[in-house]
């Protein structure tokens, strides 16, 4: 295959892979015509931000569920084995490559923004879009409000 430099067509690859596994119905990806948009309520330098990942905690109990972890001390490793990342091309041994707590903290110390919230959050990658929209997302919103977050940086693997 010639690499044209175009982004990887993940939706098409996923369709082909699940068809090869023998699944009769293709996954229907979420799609929305309208996109909400909010602005930071104050200058970035005064904003407190939350980090959000799709990785799980270590130790991992096997349940995909919303969880939160402290940024200080930051966890050395997170559970990623159950997620669909490119296990042939790379690794997730460097947590900073998918949840950059230390770098964000450094930028906050340098005054780029006011600081991270004390907790980051881990959201499960659900097959069910309804579960994400009706259960997980409102809980994440509540946790961000509880922590006084003005904005969020989401880093899906």
């Amino acid at each position: 295959m010639v690499d044209t430099g175009e982004p990887v067509p993940y939706m098409e690859r996923t369709r082909q892979y699940y068809r090869a596994l023998g699944y009769a119905k293709d996954y229907v990806w979420a799609r929305h015509d309208d996109v909400p948009f909010a602005r930071l309520p104050k200058p970035l330098s005064e904003c407190r931000l939350a980090l959000i990942t799709t990785a799980g905690p270590v130790p991992y109990d096997g349940k995909r569920q919303l969880w939160s972890g402290a940024i200080d001390p930051a966890p050395a490793r997170l559970h990623t084995a159950n997620l669909a990342w490119d296990k042939e091309s790379t690794h997730t041994d460097d947590r900073g490559s998918f949840l950059p707590i230390e770098i964000a903290s450094k930028l906050a110390r340098n005054g780029v923004f006011a600081g991270l919230t004390p907790r980051f959050h881990g959201v499960p990658t659900e097959y069910s879009q309804r579960s994400t929209t009706e259960d997980v997302a409102p809980k994440v919103l509540q946790r961000l409000r509880d922590d006084g977050a003005d904005g969020a940086i989401l880093c899906p693997l």
Partner: protein, 123 residues
């Protein structure tokens, strides 16, 4: 994750996604997206490359503060490792020689799922 971003944004909390699956994120429709064209797993930069990771986080923060409207995608100016030019072809490919093995994996998954369902009904 895109659905979480949309929910936060609809409730007044601005978001930026740093991610590598451009088609999935843009298909869903999100407010701000920093696209890093790497294999899935390291959206915030090459492993252990703190300098690159810092530049990517800075760029995401800039996007968070300055995007003019929804569906703003910015591509980070970094490529995957020059020593691995074949990575795009690798992920999730279906090798014709593997068809039987893949089908067997699928059958096993469906069997386990049906068993779990039956067990849940019986519980």
């Amino acid at each position: 994750m895109s659905l979480v971003a949309r929910h936060l944004e609809a409730n007044g909390i601005p978001t930026v996604i740093i991610g590598s699956a451009r088609d999935v994120v843009e298909y869903c429709g999100v407010p701000r997206f920093l696209f890093t064209d790497f294999p899935l797993g390291n959206p915030c930069g090459h492993p252990w490359d703190r300098e690159m990771q810092e530049k990517i986080v800075r760029q995401a923060l800039d996007l968070l503060a300055n995007a003019a409207g929804p569906r703003t995608t910015v591509k980070a100016p970094f490529a995957w490792k020059a020593s691995d030019p074949e990575w795009r072809a690798r992920y999730g490919r279906v090798d014709p020689a593997e068809r039987e093995r893949l089908l067997a994996i699928g059958e096993e998954r469906r069997r386990q799922k049906a068993e779990a369902k039956a067990a849940a009904r019986g519980a």
